[in-house]
Symmetry: D2
């Protein structure tokens, strides 16, 4: 999972700080590393580092630089996040000049591609999808950079929302199924591309539209123009990731035309209709991802909404070392149910999804210790039954709670008085996109057919 | 403004990591520096640094150390936060052994004290209140450390919630008016003192009680015992800071017996009764401090509550350099109103307080741009009309919006369709403490009489 | 100019610290960056940094690692020494496994080679000679690494003393003319290759022999074996760099069978015979490079030798920022003539060479200020009249003092009472190698014929 | 052991860089830490750090500052050099303004003084002599700073060469016996004080004279004026440290009127007369401290002088971690005898002194391995038989080679063919000062009488 951002000023104004701020708005998509690349004297320059943006990049140094076009990247790395060579964007100066690449997605044929490239002399310095794209371009040194890029994109299978910086242009490309979100915005003479529209808001830009599935958007001094990926990559259906609406995206983003906030609230409403908790005295969300659905649930069911579980804003994955003491205290470090609110109350808790079930179990136990007489859990998405092949995390099928147990077993396991999920139909209805434009593979197992991937 | 924390294990178990975690729970009380002190081979040892806790202190190095008693501090420093010598706790090894001091509050006679101490040979290395306390002790080298500390506390005027580490004991002291909060908790054989009860929750400790105004709580291997400050410091009334309930404290804390969450929700309810916004379609809080009051307002007025303004969790005061671009974008970097929620709606926004009014103005403007047809502002505390003499920030009277303008002028200035404040009476009622036990000086100007201070 | 070092233990013992110490002995060959590479789990690992060895590499971290084969490099970089990507050894994991390269010398066809490689898809990350060698290997991915390396070396023109680390072997290669020194040594079951024999001494190894011009020495678990560069690269004469004996090498090294110390002393002796300074009261060397020749001069002429100019051991190029004040004080920061020694004396000063003449001028002036009544300068090498094409520094012809002026003009310019150089014949005689095995191009302009280079 | 430096410009010119350069010239007196202090806006400012000057202080940052008066310090710390609070100069802002202190020497009544000061309320932050002086001043807050300083100096016993910075003046003080060297110099309108005259040379200043024993030299805008320490501290004899001439000082320094270079050469000459080595083919010094004496020995005995043992200029105590491998290789890492010079030769080696004898043993063994047929050791000072009470190192009596064995036993122990020392009389003659003005306590045990110390 990643966040990508790019900016191109047609008036030559520097955009480096805006890329920095744009990445701030996308920080929820990746906290393990951050980077910004631009062109300086015909060569790629970069500021990169590990951890959260403010640790990774020295804003003050950046402010002293100037570039009218730049790209940035924030990255979530489930394994070995300390490999500095894997920090994106990846950049190089090859036979045809400078190029830098930021990529959100998962290239399913990466191993195969890398092997072929190495046989032709490529030396890989990282284990990123983006570097394969770089070598595909470098090995077409007889072509113009843009042509080489368009050609290179043909070889990629899987999901891809890429922002590419060339010497005199910015290119945004989205795979033919549109798995990963990618939007385009504008403010005065500057064009922006970003994983989510909230990153346009932070720099004061207006959302123009989503980059279309299969579109290659080229922005240069004449403004944007649109190319299409090769026809043999054409698909008859979209596969927009439904999990973006459930969990990944920020609630203030609009993705493929649908408001994430409204989708989440509707998930809560439909859940309240199908899985009421009539006796409950209070409704609360599992912070932060369950909060909006909880508001929808509370409104529909007329149960009072409370911010009953407080999240410590200053505790993040990259901050706390997993020492023995930290493991003992577990979720207590991050979340704190308010005793005065829960005492002697029947509570319905709305969470966005259940993956392994361990967090739910611990919080329900904490809520009971805080005095709740009943705890009913409502999940604002269907059971996660299948691994994601297109880039969401690394959860393996064997670790999924809903695979290992029945719903009743799971309820007992996590200690809830009742447990219900949103149905697949209601998920689709809540999002508001046609069913055949959504990827629900993690819920339904309906992956892209192999010959199409 | 600061957060203090201390731990003493009667069983000799190391408490360093718990102090670290306790400070995480108090991070909202100070983000400019953090420090932890303990005794190592009879001498004060410390881990300290600038910025947020995870930047200031290397948790991994701390985990390698061991100490059965330790204190910690997080600090908000309005001016010149880069002075490393001012990072607390302050520690020293004086004639009578090691001592370290963490202090929340504002010593009103600091200048006078410092001058006297210097005349007697003291060399000040910092400009902190705590160092004055240290020199007061050092100049009584003929006394036992505890006696010297008790004696030293007599000289302090103003507000003080201090945690002091001596070689074989931990001391917690609260000024005779109880301005600043300070609680005591326990888990197994370990005692904890903390600015707020939420810091007890994070380490799994149970809140025993508040440290009483004028109490000097001494914890050693035999457990806690209680001393009193000298009788000439006796006061006939408490002065618990009402602003803790309005803004400072975390909602999951209980201070002087009153739940901050319940107090805030009641502020919202009372505001809804006295200052309704009958036509409003939605009610939203100014994140994060207005949220709980907004829930109370929404419940009482039956206007739907929405999380309509999204706060960027990754943007903090210590992260962003105030460059030209950042100043231009202003509050947009931190807050984003959701257009889909506000579009063509009449909104009532609940904020905790208005100090200078500039943020309110900018957000109301953003909400209108997001499509709201009407924006009504409700403030869950009375107008701030007086500077705080006891440690809240450095706001000078001349910068206070409510001092410079009438309410109607301020309404126009910030661009709201209507503007109302909570009354002083309702504030007191919402908190739930007797009026004569609350300090409301910043609203009412009722400071401690000079001869008592 | 660089120093290279490699070690291979046939008994599997770790050699990392020895490579570190070997680089210490070669530090005089390069102070701008240092690096060590080894293989870890089948992949190249490295410790690298800018500046002197002890700043560049954390010895303590290195001591915690283990590798039975490793290579190292210290580098003198006349321009832009802060480019971290140019720190050698350069390493990569290509289709055929790990490879790391350390190289001393100057590839005269580097630009041409790089362009060809880029046309075939190579992406250059540095501007080093070594990376070209790396890509030459990578583009022969169908060959075994050793075969690819041998093949790649064919393409290099110019000077080259390279140490290459492969997964299971260490390779040392010297260009067919033997421009740059490279020796092989042994201690117990470990083989070492180094730029100079003094680096064998530091690790307690015995000098076995010089790597021969055109030899490719392969060391693996079976010990060393010798390959030859391709026959079309055969040369009918050697071109051992005579400047190594004059200035570059350490006096305790033996290069191509000749002792540097003895060569320098003989340069001084012959200089004393041909250019006596009969009246002189004292003889002194320009520290440190002129000292040994001065001892030879003093012994032959029976003029008392004095250490009359003290060099500040702690001042290095990488330590002092060239501020205005530093430029004003100039050579005074590094060198101090002792007044008590020079007062009212006629002094003969022996220097190793004169390049631009500015240092000589400043020191002669300082010596006069120290009280010397006469200052005679003797140079222990012929006038430097031509730029070096094979890797010594970057001095351009136009900056060479002996090109810009006659000897008499130069004498006046630097303010000496007399000035003499060693003749080319005496230089050759002092070194002791046959004239046709020495490169004296910087003195004589006798470069390698173009078609041979 | 330390080096101190101070500069005061009467014309208001900044002297910070000159203090930095002055410390470079004194680096041989201390390599463990360095610091510079000056006054900024009425308060002490400082740049300090561990290790060699260029690592300890960022020259570039210093160049950006300005101060017309400043002091500096380099420090040799035999034990625990990583205690950053002990880096000098020590500075403070006390009741009477800013003060910073640099001190070379050893206060023999430090413990006693510290205890008294603590009883009166002093809080010590370091374990330095200088801090005691600071507290002595602070506890006289009723006096002017200069008066308080003069008064404070009365309490010190032992050796002391101190440079003290006050708000508007620079003070240099030397104990009544003149143990430690301290000189004053001038260039244009700037006055300098330094441990050695070589530090005046580097900044282009002229040596005016030594600060006299018992003198307190005060430099302010009116130039220098001289005070005397209190009469009860008067002494009837000087105690200039003879070890400065033997080992400590740089050869290009003039101390108390005597040239260190000439003294060392004469030590060698007298040694050649009294302890000839008639058969020897070559004479060489133990680098670096034995070199000058070796030149004197060679000249007097007409044995050829050779630089036969090469010292690695880049290896220092602060650079190399004492790992197992490093201990094994021992002195080999630093020193390398040249085989071509020693082969089949009878060598006489001149060393400055023998303390523990271990280094001599190792080098003699290396010289034999290098081929020498005989190795005769001559020591240019008498046997070290007593610990120094006044600040040279921390060698304890039990570790001194000449205490543990007879000269013949020591000769066998270190493996020399013959071993001779310089006599006490010849040492005194070589230095050139009257015997009753020299401290030779480490050779003779003639310490200062207790009641005078």
């Amino acid at each position: 999972m990643s966040g990508v951002f790019g900016a191109y000023s047609t008036s030559g104004r520097t955009v480096l700080e805006e890329v920095y701020l744009g990445l701030y708005a996308l920080q929820h998509r990746g906290q393990e590393s951050a980077g910004i690349s631009w062109v300086e004297n015909g060569r790629i320059a970069a500021a990169k580092g590990l951890g959260l943006l403010h640790n990774a990049i020295d804003q003050q140094k950046l402010s002293g630089k100037s570039a009218s076009s730049a790209i940035g990247h924030v990255r979530y790395v489930p394994t070995d996040p300390t490999q500095t060579q894997n920090i994106l964007p990846i950049g190089a100066n090859y036979a045809r000049g400078p190029v830098a690449i930021s990529h959100d997605g998962y290239i399913t044929n990466l191993k195969e591609l890398s092997k072929q490239l190495e046989q032709r002399g490529a030396i890989f310095h990282s284990s990123t999808d983006s570097e394969a794209l770089l070598h595909l371009m470098a090995q077409k040194a007889h072509m113009q950079p843009l042509d080489a890029l368009v050609d290179a994109l043909r070889y990629l299978e899987g999901s891809c929302a890429a922002v590419v910086l060339l010497e005199d242009m910015l290119v945004a490309a989205r795979d033919p199924w549109g798995f990963k979100p990618l939007v385009i915005g504008k403010a005065d003479g500057t064009y922006y591309v970003a994983s989510e529209s909230c990153a346009l808001d932070i720099v004061g830009a207006k959302l123009l539209r989503d980059v279309e599935p299969g579109e290659i958007l080229v922005i240069d001094s004449k403004g944007p123009r649109s190319l299409r990926m090769a026809p043999d990559k054409h698909c008859n259906r979209c596969m927009h990731c439904s999990f973006e609406y459930v969990y990944t995206a920020r609630p203030d983003s609009i993705i493929d035309g649908c408001s994430v906030y409204e989708a989440r609230k509707k998930m809560g409403r439909l859940l309240a209709e199908k899985s009421p908790a009539s006796d409950a005295d209070i409704a609360a969300g599992m912070p932060d991802s369950g909060t909006i659905a909880a508001i929808g649930y509370a409104q529909r069911s007329e149960i009072p909404f409370e911010m009953a579980v407080v999240r410590n804003r200053y505790v993040g994955r990259t901050f706390i070392q997993p020492t023995q003491k930290v493991r003992e205290l577990g979720v207590k470090i991050k979340l704190n149910p308010i005793s005065d609110v829960f005492m002697d109350k029947k509570a319905v808790i709305i969470d966005d999804s259940i993956v392994r079930g361990t967090t739910a179990q611990r919080i329900i136990s904490m809520i009971r210790n805080a005095g709740a007489s009943e705890v009913h859990l409502r999940v604002a998405s269907p059971p996660v039954l299948h691994p994601c092949k297109y880039g969401i995390d690394t959860r393996k099928e064997g670790t999924l709670a809903a695979v290992k147990m029945s719903i009743e077993e799971l309820r007992k396991n996590i200690g809830a008085d009742s447990l219900s999920y949103l149905s697949e139909e209601d998920l689709v209805e809540a999002i508001g996109l046609p069913e055949d434009q959504l990827c629900t593979a993690c819920f339904t197992g309906k992956y892209l057919p192999e010959n199409n991937s």
